[in-house]
């Protein structure tokens, strides 16, 4: 009977109940969407950070990451690579020779950050192929291919197949020149990258700057969700005495700004959710308190007829419970639908006219906002909304349970 009264009471003031229900449902749906999008962009930021760093873990000649000096190289590359590959939780390795130099054509000369990479390995970490706007990415038999950023190519006034001369210093400090042929153009969408970025094969880069058998960097991808810092320590330990002259960095060590940014993003997310919770809490408390004050006489009647205070309180809570259950049901349907739609079709950041988004030098502008649903987090958040909503009715219910019947019955007299 209490449930029946609660249910009918809920629809006595249909407008108010619908407004209150929509407020909870939409707030909840909005929270689910922002959680889905937030988690996904969080994952993407992590991916971007890891990609920008060059792996979950990166290995260099000691001091290279801070100085980017061309003489700090990994000397016995084969041994180090083999050791890293045999370390537990290492899924893949990316040997790289990184050259800071100058590329020139007959028209112009520009600075370049050239990565000599193992093409197939590199593509596992970094999906470069969609950015190739012309030519190919280090495919085919040429032994001196070079792929350059689109703006760089523009400034060099080069065409596919044109000769490009690289000038750079060898690890021993000697300047050297090498001839490449432009085989592809990259358009990443990030101005800075498109102006300086270049790729070639590991062999071509090694030959050009005299680094055969040596490497600038080894990127490491961990298996599954393995902790980068733990793997960094494992690699350090595995290298043993061979680790002299070598630095092993987790991506968090490598791009600390990014770690800070992600933490800040998380904090803002929690503050946002906190504000939403408070708004819901106060608005519902207020509405239910109004509902109690409107019905003092009636609640007094129930008490006079012998309904104990606790049961009167429970009646009010039942109304909230019913309202919450419906609101959360509707909100969940809207939230899940919106998340699935965003996950399926995505929202391109560029559609908002946001072209150059960069966080600590990491390009985010080609991001398409998608959604990622984490059942456990959703369950916890939904439970929190339910508890908050019901908690907001506790005070009004308490007030109702404390009504003295004689006074309540006199209320309108």
């Amino acid at each position: 009977m209490l449930w029946r009264i609660a249910w009918r009471n809920l629809w006595r003031n249909r407008g108010r109940t619908l407004i209150m229900m929509s407020a909870v449902a939409l707030t909840y749906a909005l929270m689910l969407v922002s959680m889905g999008v937030g988690d996904d962009s969080h994952d993407r930021m992590l991916d971007e950070a890891i990609r920008a760093a060059g792996g979950d873990v990166i290995v260099h000649g000691d001091g290279y990451w801070a100085s980017r000096a061309s003489d700090l190289v990994i000397e016995n590359a084969e041994t180090v690579l083999a050791t890293i590959r045999s370390t537990p939780n290492v899924q893949a390795t990316f040997p790289r020779i990184i050259v800071n130099g100058l590329v020139a054509t007959s028209a112009s000369a520009r600075p370049v950050l050239l990565f000599g990479v193992d093409r197939d390995a590199e593509l596992q970490l970094n999906d470069i192929l969609p950015d190739v706007s012309r030519g190919t990415f280090l495919e085919g038999g040429r032994d001196d291919p070079i792929v350059l950023g689109s703006r760089l190519v523009e400034k060099l006034e080069a065409e596919i197949g044109d000769r490009v001369v690289l000038t750079a210093s060898r690890p021993d400090g000697e300047l050297t020149r090498a001839l490449f042929h432009l085989s592809g153009v990259l358009h990443t969408g990030a101005r800075e990258l498109d102006e300086v970025l270049g790729y070639t094969t590991l062999d071509a880069a090694g030959g050009a700057v005299g680094m055969e058998g040596r490497l600038t960097q080894i990127g490491v991808l961990s298996a599954g969700n393995a902790d980068g810092q733990a793997i960094a320590q494992d690699i350090q330990a595995a290298l043993g005495s061979a680790s002299a002259g070598i630095e092993v960095l987790s991506w968090e060590d490598a791009v600390p700004e990014m770690v800070g940014y992600i933490e800040l993003d998380n904090a803002f997310g929690y503050i946002y959710l906190g504000v939403i919770f408070l708004v819901v809490l106060f608005s519902i408390t207020n509405t239910f308190l109004m509902a109690v004050m409107e019905r003092v006489r009636e609640l007094g009647l129930l008490s006079a007829l012998g309904l104990r205070g606790a049961r009167i309180g429970r009646l009010l809570l039942s109304e909230t419970l019913l309202m919450t259950a419906m609101a959360l049901g509707i909100g969940f349907a809207i939230g899940l639908g919106a998340n699935l739609a965003i996950a399926r079709w995505g929202i391109p950041v560029s559609a908002w006219g946001l072209e150059d988004i960069e966080v600590s030098g990491i390009d985010m502008s080609d991001m398409v906002i998608r959604s990622s649903i984490r059942p456990l987090k959703w369950t916890i958040a939904s439970a929190l909304v339910a508890v908050t909503t019901i908690a907001s009715a506790v005070y009004p219910a308490y007030r109702a349970s404390r009504l003295a019947p004689a006074e309540a019955m006199r209320f309108y007299e």
């Binding site: 009977m1 009647l301 006079a304 007829l305 012998g306």
Partner: protein, 253 residues
Amino acid sequence: MMDEAMESKSRTGQESVGTSVADRPLVRVRGVTRTYRQGVLDVHALRGIDLDIYDGEFMALVGPSGSGKTTLLNVIGALDEPDSGTVQVAGEDITKLTKGDAADFRLDHVGFVFQAYNLVPVLTAFENAEFTLLLRGKNVEERRQAVMPLLERVGLGEMVDRKPHELSGGQQQRVAIVRALATKPRLLLADEPTANLDSATSDDLMDLMQQLNDELQTTFVFSTHDPVVIDRARRVVRLLDGRVDDDDGARGR
């Protein structure tokens, strides 16, 4: 303990049908005072009431506004606590009850009919009438058997599915009386039950209450201003300024 007292009293009551009421009063009020704070003023609603009410009485509490009629009914029905004095119902001091026990006491032993706003607006006539039985945990069939004959008896057999706003004032009061009687209480308290009714409807309602008093031996205590109603009472207790001013003492029927 109270239940036992009620039971034994109830048996006594049944044995004494048709005879004069038992010597031991159903309600014994002694030295009851009650003062309200209204704004900055203290309102002395009851200033030392002594009153005995016996099983099967049909009694009117009369007096001008502010004489303490409603307060006295509230105190007898455990809706309000006196500041001093004792109220015994069936031998049990109800002024010592906790709030929860007072609610149980009302549910188990007292029927109430108020002047207005008597019914739960979202429930139908039948649901309102069966409400107290439901609180006592009676099943559907028991509730139907207890309530339907009474609803028919008061002429509402065809209107059981109507909500209060679909009933006239007199019909609403009838539903309230059915609800009050459904649990077969020994005591029915009615606070100005005819105040919002026209004289013909008031007359009907009084007929009904009187007949039920005769048929069920339920003790009726009602407050009223209405001279027609006062004429129908078998005992009239007049209150003035929170004291019993006059009691015609006509006990029982």
